[in-house]
């Protein structure tokens, strides 16, 4: 059986089995370990020099519309699939004891994972979209049932916000489908990527692109559509926050890289100035908002929104270096934020609060928790040695060097060389301040929670249990691998972006 199909159906079947009565936690753990192994096998079998998309599998659904179930993966998809597998495993692993409706809890986690897998593996626009939406109801249920704080309001907010974003995205995708002459209409991404098709699309691309950008942007929490994210992540149970901030948010970015840029390159360039303004909003405005947060969970929620700005910068740069950096940063950010949310969840289980004013000195009773949190925080800031650093460097270099004249227009319209200081360079310099900002809030957050005076209430809290350390170590080790040998991951994604390489 096709390995991508297995990756999608293993969690689905496991979720069904759990609902029908198998032992919830054990089944979920087994399925996610199996999925991690499968994704590693897929990664090792992938031939970077071979076909663009490998592991293809097709089943026709509606021949009249050329709509089919069509999966296949290139290096970029495989990296995202690996991210999904790792984060899912970690999320299942660190799940706390579920007091009520344990079956539904693990089934929901697995549904979210299956949806993400399916979205990253799909080469058909319809299923690409549909798989992503699979996460909507489980998220709603999980935040509402097992969340903390003002969970009901947060659940409504994320659900309605994402429903609206998805609908806008759907309208954009339908527009994309209808943009080509009637006889050639297809949902097949590989067909749409052909140069002739791209030319067909380019006539209406200049207004389909902003629709897609808005739709994806809402899903990614692009400034100013970001307000759903911090509240939802703060209220969500740790596994949902990990999967959502770590994986599902990457779907929107992946969509931009997979659908919007290759199919509408000229429109992407046309709208890049707007994107630059918004992403600087992400980095600076949301960054400053992050500093002002008084709770650890909200701070992490905002920080995950802020870091989207860098990935957008890489995407906007539209060149080989920037895009590769963006792809690697998607991977790195997913792992780092998952580790942070996992540890925050553990912390909340111990103290019942994540308010900075009530915490302090926790590194004394819980040194391992503190140490791992510090590592994850360093990764998130972008300290050398973690994949975040190597990818952010690529993004910043790529964006600074982004010269409009050197872009390779697929449809062949050369664009006049820019004036001395490009918008990209201005945006890059603004975004650079984000590094300082994230150092400020992460270190302040770390100090407030783990250093300083220890409140008597927390003197006896247990350290991280031995079994719970492993998933976090897995996340951090992968990050270090990407930090020391970025080539290990970059070699997979780079063939995807070769068409954007300067000629």
């Amino acid at each position: 059986m096709n390995i991508l199909n297995l990756l999608i159906f293993v969690p689905l079947l496991a979720a069904t089995a759990i609902l029908l009565g198998t032992s919830a936690r054990r089944t979920a753990l087994g399925a996610s370990v199996l999925n991690l192994i499968l994704s590693l096998i897929a990664l090792s079998q992938y031939q970077p020099g071979g076909d663009r998309f490998q592991f293809l599998s097709v089943a026709t659904i509606l021949p009249d519309l050329d709509l089919k179930y069509f999966v296949g993966a290139d290096g970029l998809s495989l990296l995202m699939i690996l991210l999904t597998a790792i984060v899912t495993l970690a999320a299942v692993w660190v799940s706390p004891r579920v007091e009520r409706m344990e079956k539904q809890f693990y089934a929901c986690v697995l549904f979210i994972a299956a949806g993400a897998m399916g979205a990253f593996a799909s080469l058909d626009l319809f299923f690409f979209y549909a798989f992503h939406e699979l996460a909507l109801i489980p998220t709603f249920l999980m935040i509402g049932i097992w969340g903390s704080g003002d969970r009901h309001a947060a659940a409504w907010k994320i659900t309605i916000y994402l429903a609206v974003g998805s609908f806008i995205l759907l309208v954009g995708l339908i527009g994309l489908y209808l943009a080509v002459p009637e006889t050639q209409r297809t949902f097949d991404l590989t067909k749409l990527m052909l140069p002739g098709m791209v030319k067909n699309i380019s006539a209406s691309a200049h207004w389909i692109y902003p629709i897609l950008l808005t739709g994806f942007g809402i899903l990614i929490s692009l400034f100013p559509f970001h307000t759903w994210a911090p509240d939802a992540y703060a209220s969500a149970p740790a596994p949902v926050a990990m999967l959502h901030a770590g994986v599902l948010k990457k779907f929107g970015l992946y969509g931009l890289l997979r659908v919007a840029l290759p199919l509408m390159p000229d429109a992407a360039r046309e709208w890049s100035d707007l994107l630059l303004v918004l992403l600087v909003g992400n980095v600076l405005y949301v960054g400053l908002a992050t500093i002002a947060q008084k709770r650890l969970d909200l701070m992490l929620g905002y920080s995950s929104v802020m870091h989207m700005g860098y990935i957008f910068l890489g995407i906007a740069s539209f060149n080989f270096i920037g895009l590769s950096g963006a792809a690697l940063l998607m991977f790195a950010h997913g792992l780092a934020i998952a580790a942070l949310f996992a540890l925050t969840g553990q912390l909340r289980d111990r103290t019942g609060t994540v308010r900075f004013s009530e915490l302090g000195g926790l590194a004394k009773p819980a040194p391992v928790l503190g140490f791992l949190f510090a590592l994850a925080a360093f990764a998130s800031i972008g300290l050398p040695g973690f994949a975040n650093f190597s990818s952010e460097i690529l993004v910043l270099f790529g964006a600074f060097g982004a010269q409009v004249s050197k872009l390779v227009p697929v449809s062949g319209n050369p664009i006049a060389p820019p004036p001395t200081f490009t918008h990209f360079q201005v945006a890059t310099v603004c975004a650079l301040w984000g590094v300082v900002i994230s150092a400020v809030y992460m270190l302040r957050g770390f100090r407030a929670v783990f250093l300083g005076e220890l409140d008597k209430r927390w003197a006896k809290i247990p350290d991280l249990a031995r079994t719970i350390r492993w998933p976090v170590i897995l996340l951090l080790a992968t990050l270090m691998l990407g930090g020391f040998i970025p080539r290990f991951f970059l070699k997979f994604v780079q063939p995807t972006f070769e068409i954007f390489a300067p000629r």
């Binding site: 659904i61 939406e133 109801i137 709603f140 249920l141 339908i174 489908y177 209808l178």
Partner: protein
């Protein structure tokens, strides 16, 4: 092979037989009648696949057996079967509000009348002449007058009956008046002949369009389109729940078949077509906005479903306003098929739950996930499908509708769709919230009867299967009702 017209005949005979059985049988258990009805309708459903329309029969002037008609005949049969299953679950409530001589008196007709309504729905699906359209619409409407007010000691049911009667009679008046105008202008009652006559009309098109508008008023009443929707919430809430489901699915679907045929009739001449499409646009926009926004604050599930029924009429009208795009007609048929599955599933679960919790407010569903995980899951699937989540049939329905709308450049309707889809998520998930977030009033388990459970499981499975693989519905709309392989000659 049978003539398709024998299907309706068989349904009428079945209905009369059930009434006679009720009158003359000494059987005290009236649920026999429902089982007989279910079995009979099931047989007719199977037989519908072995029909062949004769060439040039005289009645073919009134009646068509094209795939669309056959599709909606089966649609009516399936709906009626499930309504009878609901009626079986609901019989306790009905007997409570009828004080008869014996414990089950009055139940027999409650099971038999829907079968006669079904015959009317099937004729509506086939009618291509205003006379047959009118007669079959009246057959449906009059049997609904009885059914809506069936629980005669229940004031809500009576109120619903009176409202439905008065507004139904009013819409009938509009209907006949509209038909006379169209007949007066074209000299025809057959839709094909009217379509042929329109291009040769001389002078003003206003009288023709005036007639069309009057007919649309009457149809708008049937399909619950704004601004003719005023009766819907009260009647839906007051009527016996199986009848609400029947109204909401059967009556609406049949209304849409007639609407499809009627709109098609006026599509040939650009000047007329423009006005017709414009009318559909206005209706669609009003219905979408009204249905969805009014559904937001509802706390009673039946009333919520009434507004949701209006909202879905809005989506269907979006497709009607996109007539001319390839696939708009199929989009309507597919949407209705999905609507049947998810709406009947909702009503079925609702009846089972309301039997135990004593009411159909959303609050009565609180904590259902702990009292019956299976029923809560079924309801979750129904709500997800109604809201339009992918991998359910409801999403494909909306998808095809919006593709058609996009093709016809109805961008304003798509923009309105943005608001309505978002509010849909809110009010359908309100039910999910009650079932999964809230604590139950008590922890006793809720079970459905085995046959009801089987129907629920079938509906859930179909929602998923058609949500991934919608082709069977389109195949049904394409194939001819002829199946030579099984020819019995």
């Amino acid at each position: 092979m049978f003539s398709p017209i024998s299907l309706e005949a068989a349904v009428v005979v079945l209905g009369l037989f059930l009434l006679l059985f009720e009158a003359f049988s000494t059987e005290p258990d009236k649920s026999r009648i429902a089982w007989l009805g279910i079995a009979g309708l099931g047989t007719i459903l199977v037989l519908s696949f072995f029909t062949q329309a004769p060439e040039n029969a005289a009645w073919m002037r009134f009646y068509t057996a094209d795939p669309l008609a056959m599709f909606f005949k089966r649609f009516a049969l399936v709906t009626t079967i499930i309504v009878l299953v609901m009626a079986l679950e609901y019989r306790g409530v009905v007997t409570k509000f009828i004080f008869g001589v014996s414990p089950q008196s009055g139940l027999g007709e409650f099971f038999a009348l829907p079968v006669l309504t079904c015959a009317g729905l099937m004729w509506m699906a086939s009618a291509i002449d205003f006379t047959l359209i009118f007669v079959s619409v009246e057959l449906v409407t009059i049997s609904f007058y009885v059914l809506v007010a069936y629980m005669r000691r229940n004031t809500a049911s009576l109120e619903a009956g009176v409202k439905y009667l008065i507004l139904g009679a009013l819409s009938t008046g509009f209907f006949v008046y509209g038909i006379t105008w169209i007949f007066g202008v074209t000299g025809e009652t057959n839709l094909d002949l009217i379509a042929a006559a329109i291009p040769h009309l001389e002078g003003s098109k206003v009288p023709l369009l005036f007639g069309f508008m009057l007919v649309i008023v009457a149809l708008g009443f049937k399909i619950a389109a704004a601004p003719f929707q005023l009766w819907v919430p009260d009647v839906y809430q007051g009527a016996p729940t199986p009848i609400t489901a029947f109204l909401s699915v059967g009556s609406k679907a049949a209304g849409f078949v007639v609407l499809i045929r009627l709109v098609n009739t006026f599509m040939d001449v650009p000047l007329v077509r423009e006005k017709v499409v414009g009318t559909m646009f206005v209706l669609a926009a009003l219905t979408l906005i009204y249905g969805n926004l009014a559904a937001l604050p509802q706390t009673n599930l039946k009333r919520l479903l009434a507004y949701s029924s209006i909202a879905h009429a809005g989506y269907l009208l979006v497709a009607a306003a996109s007539f001319g795009a390839t696939g708009a007609r199929d989009a309507i048929a597919f949407y209705l098929a999905g609507y049947l599955l998810m709406t009947l599933l909702t009503f079925l679960v609702m009846i089972v739950v309301a039997n135990r919790t004593g009411g159909d407010d959303i609050a009565h569903f609180a904590g259902l996930s702990r009292r019956s995980p299976w029923l809560a899951f079924a309801m979750l699937v129904a709500m997800a499908s109604l809201a339009g989540i992918p991998f359910t049939v409801g999403f494909f329905g909306k998808f095809f509708v919006f593709v058609a709308a996009y093709k016809q450049h109805q961008y304003l309707l798509i923009g309105i769709g943005l608001i309505t889809v978002a509010s849909g998520f809110y009010y359908y998930l309100k039910v999910v919230r009650a079932m999964y977030w809230d604590a139950p009033a008590d922890d006793s388990r809720i079970h459905a009867q085995p046959f009801t459970n089987a129907i629920i499981a079938t509906l859930v499975a179909l929602i998923f299967v058609l949500g991934v693989y919608p082709r069977p519905i389109f195949d049904l709309l394409k194939v001819k009702p002829l199946m030579t392989k099984f020819a019995l000659r």
